[in-house]
């Protein structure tokens, strides 16, 4: 019977061992370091130092560090040039699934994909959005153009819009001009929106747009002095993906509203379809922080939690108000569907856009 006794005891021994082991593991797990403790998160910025997206991430990173358990260090790598493509490719090729590398992107990075640039070989479906920050845009005109209020747009003659490039963010104002069938042309080649605004101030152009923060600081004073007339915003998206008034500039109508005002009907046609495709990626989901789709759930979770924390953090909200442009810093998972939809384009619309900018603004696609 000795061996039976022994055999009977063995399971108990085993059970105890398993118990001890699991207890040990459990305590270890409880005391386990947070996922990012002692880690460095490398942020790829596909733009040179001091661009809008660069400043955006560098400003919010210290707050993220404070709110992510383990306080990971953020290291920034600017890979500028090449329309942002080299930076995007660096992330696409080098990021490992461990979530130690993240990427900042902006409208510049979405438009090459939307217009079918062959060099833009990155696929947004391989990544997940961690944080999203919408941006708004406001169009305004010079009183010298004869415009006193937005209804005057229809009969205004010889409007000149100053922009940077027909396949950058200017595409959206340029599409708006076509959609509204204005007597307007774009003069492109300015080296930045600020330079375009200076040209507006000195009377070289009479139609301009600025992103909301720049509008508030630099255009509102002009409006007060009677040197600029506010016209319309490009709008934002609601939860169902409809274009609605910009919450940061609620008094101004959106481009489709102005269309209705001028034409007396709902907007339709090719330019409207194009507007609906490009506006979201240009403004409504403009700045996105990405991580690889294979990244551990824990990594995603801490970023989302940090976003929730920051939404309640008074200091963060007041200090970053100007950088975030009066828009919230949103959790990526809430907007994932909208974002992935924003990067899908109907081949027919793509062809249409390419032909239009090719002909009107002499853009040569390879």
């Amino acid at each position: 019977m000795g061996w039976i006794h022994f055999k009977a005891k063995l399971p108990v021994y085993k059970w105890l061992a398993v118990c001890a082991l699991s207890l040990g593991l459990a305590t270890q797990a409880l005391a386990a370091a947070p996922y990012y403790e002692g880690k460095t998160i490398e942020v790829i910025i596909p733009f040179p130092v001091a661009g809008g997206s660069d400043i955006w991430i560098r400003t919010i990173a210290p707050y993220l560090q404070k709110n992510i358990p383990g306080a990971p260090k953020f290291n920034f790598r600017n890979i500028g040039g090449g329309r942002g493509i080299p930076g995007m490719m660096e992330f696409a090729l080098k990021a490992k699934p461990d979530g130690h590398m993240v990427l900042v992107s902006s409208a510049t990075n979405y438009f090459p994909v939307l217009v079918g640039d062959k060099a833009a070989k990155y696929d947004f479906r391989q990544w997940k959005p961690l944080l999203v920050n919408p941006v708004g845009g406001v169009m305004y005109a010079s009183p010298a153009s004869g415009i006193k209020k937005v209804e005057d747009l229809a009969k205004a003659k010889n409007l000149i819009y100053g922009g940077i490039s027909a396949i950058g963010l200017d595409l959206i104002p340029l599409i708006s001009l076509e959609l509204l069938e204005l007597d307007a042309r774009g003069v492109l080649g300015f080296s930045g929106r600020g330079h375009a605004r200076i040209a507006f101030e000195r009377g070289e152009t009479n139609l301009d747009y600025q992103t909301t923060p720049a509008y508030n600081a630099t255009v509102l004073p002009l409006i007060k002095e009677g040197k600029a007339i506010p016209l319309m915003t490009f709008g934002q998206l609601d939860d169902q993906g409809n274009i609605v008034r910009d919450p940061a500039v609620p008094d101004l109508p959106t481009v489709p509203e102005v269309y209705e005002k001028l034409k007396g009907k709902k907007p339709s046609g090719k330019f409207w379809d194009t507007y609906k495709i490009f506006m979201p990626s240009g403004f409504a989901v403009q700045k996105i922080l990405w991580i690889k789709v294979e990244a551990p759930a824990e990594a995603l979770r801490v970023f989302y939690a940090a976003a929730d924390q920051l939404a309640k953090d008074k200091e963060f909200l007041t200090k970053t108000d100007k950088i975030l442009g009066g828009y919230p810093l949103l959790r990526g998972d809430r907007l994932e569907k909208t974002i992935q939809q924003a990067f899908q384009i109907d081949p027919e619309i793509q062809r249409f856009v390419r032909e239009w900018v090719g002909k009107k603004y002499r853009v040569k696609f390879d």
Binding site: D54, F76, I79, G82, G189, S191, H195, I198, Y361, R362
Partner: protein, 643 residues
């Protein structure tokens, strides 16, 4: 307004603010000295620290560092002939020959003093123009800015040296290199050959470091020995100060040119310092010493490149439009504090504007003093056999060039242009017009494009355009008349022995330029009309000039280069190959290991340094690089085989 100025000054009674200012000045001085790293690196490095400070303290730190970068970058330019930052390239032209003549102390003291005065004049001008700056900036439309750029380009004509034809060709090559990349308005990609790297054109840092830095390093290595013979520093310091007093007019004019280059959008520090250099050559009665060590050639660009930064604050603070990348980072820092610069800045944040102005002025003065203190020690570097200095310099240059876009293309471009610059130097081609052409291509083309697409050809009739057109004609007239009276244009230092390499290499090089221009013209036929204007403006004259030059060269007598020249050429090419090898090592093994191997092999195998000293040297270079990498978050080039 003056109350605000005094209130802002009171802040400097606070020792914390003094400490921040000193920290900024120290950082700026060190980064300025390192070749290739300039204002951008400086502010980017300090940026993480400012998030814990209040806005005034942060501005004191940032502006303090920015203010001194263009004072200390002179040290490398003068002593080693390698521009400390792109804007200091103009100082190389006369400053480095002075150092070679044993007058480093004189050149440096003149440079620091004119830098400081330039900065102070800039600060005063900035203060006085605050109330009128906005309308002043708005006075300049695209056509006027275009004329200003063309005026700047015309200065290239004064920098052609004794060989106007070769100088003109060099300027055309600069224009051609400048038109690589997307044309303004994105209509067409020119000469990019499907390379993404070339879309935005070649970064200025790579071009300046290549054409002056690498070329000079190879040349110095091939010559052997040290940069200057060991003679006492003597009264050089005093002499430099006397020079500045004597040429006070140049300091004043240079500073004002600098301020304007900073105020007007799109001109920038590099173009500003070249314009200042060009203007002093154009106005000089005796020009034959320029390029061979004329102190005026040091004073002019140095007084401009600090005041540019002061001028730059006007578009940054009053229009929210940064003139250069350092100003852009400053703008970003202001955003962080919830301050969006713009028209209301003068009313709402006048105290902050004065904090910036005072920090700039005080840092400028302290920076110049600090550089004075550092220079006697640094000037002794010129007494060390150059081969021993070279590895550390080469490593810094490679690292600095790589920071601009983090692409190996930066290093290819730098090495390629280094070879080109060396050949130009050996064959008596002036390099200054090349850089002027390159720097001004982008703004000139942009404003040309904007002028035509906005005004068609009516822009030619605007009063400002006509006035500047007349100035342009007058300056051309003066040059031609001066030439007729037998006044020679300045020659770069190399052209004393002008064509070192002899007849055949000259002919080969000119033929190469001719072919290059022809091929570029052929490629340009597919560009749409505005995108083709610049490549054509560069290539058609280049083809004509190159053809004439070729005929001249074919008709000269054959002078066989001496044995020594042959030997020196071979050595130079060997040294160049060692740099290429270093690049290959980096690509294969990554920056860290490649640097260790390169430095050690260079010192032990080539310079015959005892192995333990070579080892200590290697260790310190790699250690410093590691420290930069760790502390400052600067990124290292990675290799294929090893990270």
């Amino acid at each position: 307004m003056w109350d605000a100025a005094l209130i802002a000054l009171e802040q400097f009674a606070n020792p914390v603010h003094w400490g921040m200012l000193m920290a900024g000045v120290m950082a700026g001085t060190v980064i300025g000295i390192l070749p290739g790293l300039g204002g951008i690196a400086c502010v980017a490095i300090l940026l993480p620290f400012i998030y814990t400070l209040d806005v005034h303290t942060a501005m004191i730190l940032l502006v303090g560092s920015l203010a001194v970068v263009h004072t200390s970058d002179t040290i490398t330019s003068v002593l080693i002939g390698t521009p400390g930052s792109a804007a200091a390239a103009a100082t190389v032209l006369d400053g480095h020959p002075l150092a070679k003549q044993g007058q480093a102390a004189r050149a440096l003291s003149a440079a620091f003093l004119s830098s400081m005065i330039g900065g102070l004049i800039g600060a005063v001008f900035l203060t006085l123009s605050l109330p009128i700056a906005r309308p002043l900036v708005l006075l300049f439309g695209s056509p006027e800015l275009l004329m200003l750029c063309i005026l700047g380009l015309s200065f290239a004509g004064f920098l052609t040296g004794g060989a106007p034809l070769k100088g003109g060709l060099a300027a055309c090559l600069g224009l051609l290199l400048g038109s690589v990349g997307s044309a303004p308005a994105d209509a067409v990609d020119r000469y990019t050959f499907g390379q993404l790297y070339l879309l935005d054109g070649i970064p200025l840092v790579g071009v300046a470091l290549g054409i002056f830095g690498i070329a000079e390093i190879i040349d110095l290595l091939a010559k052997g020995g040290r940069i200057a013979e060991r003679i006492g520093l003597g009264h050089g310091w005093l002499q430099g100060a006397k020079d500045v007093v004597q040429h006070w007019g140049i300091v004043l004019r240079g500073s004002l040119i600098g301020v304007w280059a900073g105020i007007l959008p799109g001109i920038g520090a590099t173009a500003g310092s070249w314009m200042s250099y060009g203007h002093v050559v154009a106005m000089a009665r005796d020009r034959d010493k320029f390029g061979k060590g004329d102190i005026r050639g040091v004073i002019a660009p140095e007084s401009a490149n600090n005041s540019v930064e002061a001028g730059d604050f006007i578009p940054t603070l009053l229009f929210s439009v940064p003139g250069g990348a350092p100003a852009a980072i400053l703008l970003g820092a202001l955003f962080f504090y919830g301050i969006q610069p713009g028209p209301r800045m003068v009313q709402e944040n006048l105290d902050l504007i004065f904090t910036i102005i005072w920090s700039f002025a005080i840092a400028n003065t302290i920076g110049a003093a600090l550089c004075f203190l550092l220079s006697p020690a640094l000037a002794r570097l010129t007494w060390i056999p150059f081969a021993r200095l070279a590895p550390a310099i080469v490593v810094t240059i490679f690292f600095g060039a790589f920071q601009s876009s983090q692409h190996f293309g930066d290093i290819y471009a730098m090495l390629g242009l280094g070879l080109l610059g060396w050949l130009m130097k050996q064959l008596g081609w002036a390099r200054a017009p090349f850089l002027v052409g390159f720097v001004l291509t982008k703004p000139t083309e942009q404003y040309l494009w904007l002028s035509i697409s906005r005004y068609d050809f009516e822009w030619l009739l605007r009063p400002g355009v006509i006035v500047m057109g007349l100035v342009l004609l007058a300056s051309i007239f003066w040059t031609v008349r001066g030439k007729r009276r037998g006044k020679d244009l300045p020659a770069e230092e190399s052209s004393e022995e002008s064509v070192v390499l002899g007849k055949t290499p000259s002919i080969l090089f000119t033929s190469f330029v001719l072919l290059l221009a022809a091929a570029a013209l052929y490629e340009a036929r597919s560009f749409p009309y505005l995108g083709a204007i610049f490549p054509m403006a560069a290539t058609i004259p280049a083809i004509v000039m190159a053809a004439v030059q070729l005929v001249i060269e074919l008709r000269t007598d054959r002078i066989a280069p001496g044995d020594e020249t042959r030997k020196r050429t071979t050595t130079a090419l060997e040294y160049f190959l060692s740099l290429v090898l270093y690049l290959l090592l980096i690509m294969l093994l990554g920056f860290g290991i490649a640097t260790a191997l390169f430095v050690f092999i260079f010192l032990y195998g080539w310079v015959k340094m005892p192995w333990f000293r070579a080892l200590i040297y290697t260790g310190s270079v790699v250690g410093v690089a590691l420290l930069m990498n760790q502390l400052l978050g600067l990124y290292w080039p990675q290799g294929i085989l090893l990270g």
